[in-house]
Amino acid sequence: MSPSSPPRPSSPSIPPGVAAFLQHVLDGPTLRDIPDGTVGLGWVGGVPVTVATDLTAAVPALATAARRATPLLIVTAPGEGPTAAPPLAVGHRPAPWVPVVAVGRSPWAVVGADLSILLDADGPADHTDQDPAMAAGLVRRFLGLLRPAAASPTAASPAGASPAGAAPARSASLTELVPFVPDAPYDIAAVLDAIVDAPGMLPLGERGAVLGGLARLGGRTVVVVASDAAHAGGRLDPSALRTVARLTELAASADLPIVSLVDSAGLLPAAAALDDVTTLLGTLGSVWASPATQVTVVLGRAHGAAATVLGAVGARADIVVAWPRPPSPAPTPPAPTRRARPRRPDPAGSTADPVDPVERASAWAAARDGALLDIIAPDETRARLIEALDVLRGAVAFAAPRRSDRG
């Protein structure tokens, strides 16, 4: 790239609104190779980025970005769309996977992107009502998170020590932020700020009972999925399920680990209705098929299908630990209608009392049985997560089949 290149964002073929945004986001006037003004190459925070400035060029631009192995930035002008179909929401992404960022003024123009931003407009997108400067900041941060950290930890760190320069966004004791009693509300965003590196998490996905996004933890980029107990007890609704599925797919595509914080009383009754079964099954399918590594911390409740979706039970997560909060009564399961399997007679004639199902839901009982790897003090969470991510970083060493048989 020659430093004397003309400032192409101001090219007459690019709509003024798009050019204005590009001037905010690009590293100087460096957009090149736009024979028809629709596809070019620029730099954002030092990252080479393929840029499309016309919604009809989004799909060919995606192929170009994949060929160049660069992220794709789609910036569209007001009034664009609808095309025949939202360009990013249909079809398969070409290989290799590259992140797609869409910035526009219409939901139609940004749907399906890995980061969707609406300029001065509201609607279904990751970030809405942004001015160009704020949107440019979000794009830079997103692309920066998908780059390896400059000071990525290398040495094995059993104590989970943060590498130099990595500190949590908020310095607070998690036992101060989270009440001990299970049903008391707390601010999951504050909890996340006390766990992940500053400046905190970049939110992605729909607002609902799940807060998700990208963050760095000990210098390593992670996908965060956290249920929000203050939002209907953390019960997952269809939008939360969609967020989990989307973030799980992003983790798999970008080869990022998932950190899941679970405090959920199950599914919202609506989500269990027939209309939403497809969403639930689709989410479960995405979760189970994902090769991404996952570390789960159970902050409180992990009930029903939500526990499976969020990786608190089953074989989805590689490491599951819990805080020592007390159990809260889970919904009483319906009486079994299937004939119970005959129990093998115990020659020792054990007369152990049956355990109360509510008591069995406690982390203490799970840890005693070995169903949980450990119970940790809340203030150990950050260090233990950093350590766990360090242990799991070699996950690509062998393409093992999904550990569906792991106990």
């Binding site: 590689d318 093998r344 840890a367 996950a395």
Partner: protein
């Protein structure tokens, strides 16, 4: 910290599901956590620990402390608690359910460790312990970490395996049955180490036989297919565990164990040494550790150590130690098939696997036992991209009726197939005798050796000159037409033609080197061959059982 009444749970008389009063606020919950961890670390209690110490044995936590870098152990499943349910006695808790396990560092590199607890039911695992061991075994396999098992028993509790449920592994965690072949999928992926520190029977012995490295503490440990009660019940023979699988037996008769050590401390030290030579997985190259020993250090003592007279024995072990970095050599199976030496060392910081004939025993002849010992070692080195250095001084394969009956032919072909399929660099020094087909198979050019060098003392031929004379002139000898003069003439001729320089003239070997510069020559050959190892990364190669 919220401790107000509003924060407290109202179910003050509730239990927590683990049989204890439920904590009612953060301070009590955290105190409970600390108390449980402390209780788990007491293992079977002071008396059980004392009994173990009195037998010269260590607790699993003491063993782990010896194994890992200080302060690096992260225990997993620390709160798991099993139940020891003996008829006629009240049930009691089994802290950690008989298995202390987690991860930690050895020389700064992460490993997974699983240690049986001899203070609880003699080290037999409960379901929770099995679940932990299985989880960590999978973690090591999936993420490419060495897995070290410090075995005290690793047997399942016998009663739990009686009955038709034994037909299949089913739910290992529930049934308490670990499938014996569960270790096999990890073969050739990341190193597995078995330190037999108690009585390894059944599945534990299978696991040890499949491990890349094994040790056994002599006197306090034993390994066998089945223990004394099963032997007595099965065939009516009374035997102790030492009769069935002592260190002496495995050192000299079976050769199943890599290092028989006098104490547990030595066993664990051997494990640390082994791990230092190996990569964490076969997707990585072994760590190179440059020390103070220069690569071009001459070793003039080699000319004194090796007599020119081929009939005079010497100790090849001394030759090896004169060549390798700082004289450090981890010899394996030292008392089994002593006519061949195998082990790990470093040359110019590179990890190498050394296979050397030992002229001090049976003249260094290659017999079925020697091949058995060498083949698996070569396969393991190949699986982990560790270059093989052969030091040859051997008169060929042993022949004769006994050798044929012992199945030498099968072992020869195993060696052939192993050598031909090796992708790791093979570098060979022909020290003295290099006779017969074994010259090819022990790192010869014919099987793709990267570099073959000879000392001036080397003699290379299909057979020793005297055997060549006797074979070729047999009919003249039988007819009584062979004169002593002709016999000597032919012998001298063969002797001359066998000199290594003739092979160098034809470029059938790379060079004839001065013995004192063997180390420098090997270091140079290793550096040149490095690209070959990088090419082979990611190939998964399995190996035989011990």
């Amino acid at each position: 910290m919220p401790t107000s009444a509003g924060d407290a749970t109202d179910a003050s008389d509730a239990t927590d599901g683990a049989g204890e009063p439920a904590p009612h606020d953060w301070p009590s919950a955290l105190a409970r956590l600390q108390a449980l961890r402390h209780a788990g670390r007491q293992m079977g209690g002071p008396e059980a620990i004392e009994r173990l110490h009195a037998r010269g044995k260590l607790t699993p936590r003491e063993r782990i402390d010896l194994l890992l870098d200080h302060g690096t152990f992260r225990e997993l499943g620390e709160l798991v608690t099993g139940t020891i349910d003996v008829p006629g006695r009240p049930p009691r808790d089994a802290p950690a359910d008989g298995v202390v396990a987690g991860w930690g560092l050895v020389d700064g590199r992460r490993i997974i460790v699983i240690a049986d607890d001899g203070t609880i039911t003699a080290g037999a695992r409960g379901p929770g312990g099995n679940r932990k061991a299985r989880y960590l075994r999978d973690l090591a396999a999936d993420h490419g970490y060495p897995l070290v098992s410090l075995l005290e028993s690793s047997a399942n509790r016998f009663g739990s395996m009686m009955g038709a449920q034994f037909a299949g592994p089913g739910d290992e965690a529930t049934d308490g049955i670990a499938p014996p072949a569960a270790e096999w999928p990890q073969a050739g992926r990341s190193p597995r180490v078995s330190a037999v520190l108690g009585t390894a029977l059944g599945a534990a012995s299978f696991q040890t036989m499949d491990a890349e490295f094994s040790t056994l503490a002599d006197g306090t440990a034993a390994m066998a297919l089945a223990g004394p009660p099963v032997v007595l019940g099965g065939i009516g023979v009374t035997a102790t565990t030492q009769d069935l699988g002592s260190g002496e037996l495995h050192a000299t008769i079976t050769g199943f164990i890599d290092c028989i050590t006098p104490t547990e401390h030595d066993s664990i030290a051997a494990v640390r040494r082994f791990l230092g030579y190996f990569p964490s997985s076969s997707r990585e190259l072994p760590p190179r550790r440059l020390g103070a020993d220069p690569a071009d250090r001459p070793a003039p003592e080699l000319c004194d150590l090796v007599p020119l007279d081929h009939r005079k024995p010497y100790d090849m072990g001394q030759v090896i130690r004169a060549i390798v970095d700082d004289g450090e050599f981890l010899e394996l199976r030292a008392r089994y098939a002593r006519n061949i030496i195998i082990g790990y060392a470093r040359i110019d910081g590179w990890t190498v696997g050394i296979v050397a004939n030992q002229p001090r025993h049976l003249g260094g002849i290659v017999d079925a036992k020697a091949v058995t010992k060498a083949v698996r070692f070569a396969q393991i080195c190949n699986a982990y991209n560790i270059p093989l250095v052969f030091l040859q001084d051997q008169p060929g394969f042993v022949v004769g009726p006994q050798s044929e009956r012992e199945g030498a032919l099968r072992q020869v072909v195993r060696l052939q197939n192993t050598a031909y399929s090796a992708t790791t660099p093979m570098i060979t020094v022909l020290v003295r005798k290099a006779y017969g087909y074994s010259t090819w198979l022990l790192g010869g050019r014919a099987v793709g050796a990267t570099h073959v060098m000879a000392w001036p003392s080397a003699s290379i031929s299909l057979a020793a000159p005297e055997i060549g004379v006797a074979t070729l002139l047999r009919s003249e000898l039988e007819r009584g037409e062979l004169s002593e003069e002709r016999q000597q003439e032919l012998y001298r001729s063969y002797r001359s033609l066998s000199q290594g320089r003739w092979a160098a003239y034809d470029f059938r070997i790379d060079d004839v080197i001065e013995p004192q510069h063997t180390r420098r020559a090997l270091a140079g050959a290793l550096a040149m061959a490095d690209h070959r190892r990088v090419r082979a990364l990611g190939l998964r190669r399995r190996f035989d059982t011990a």
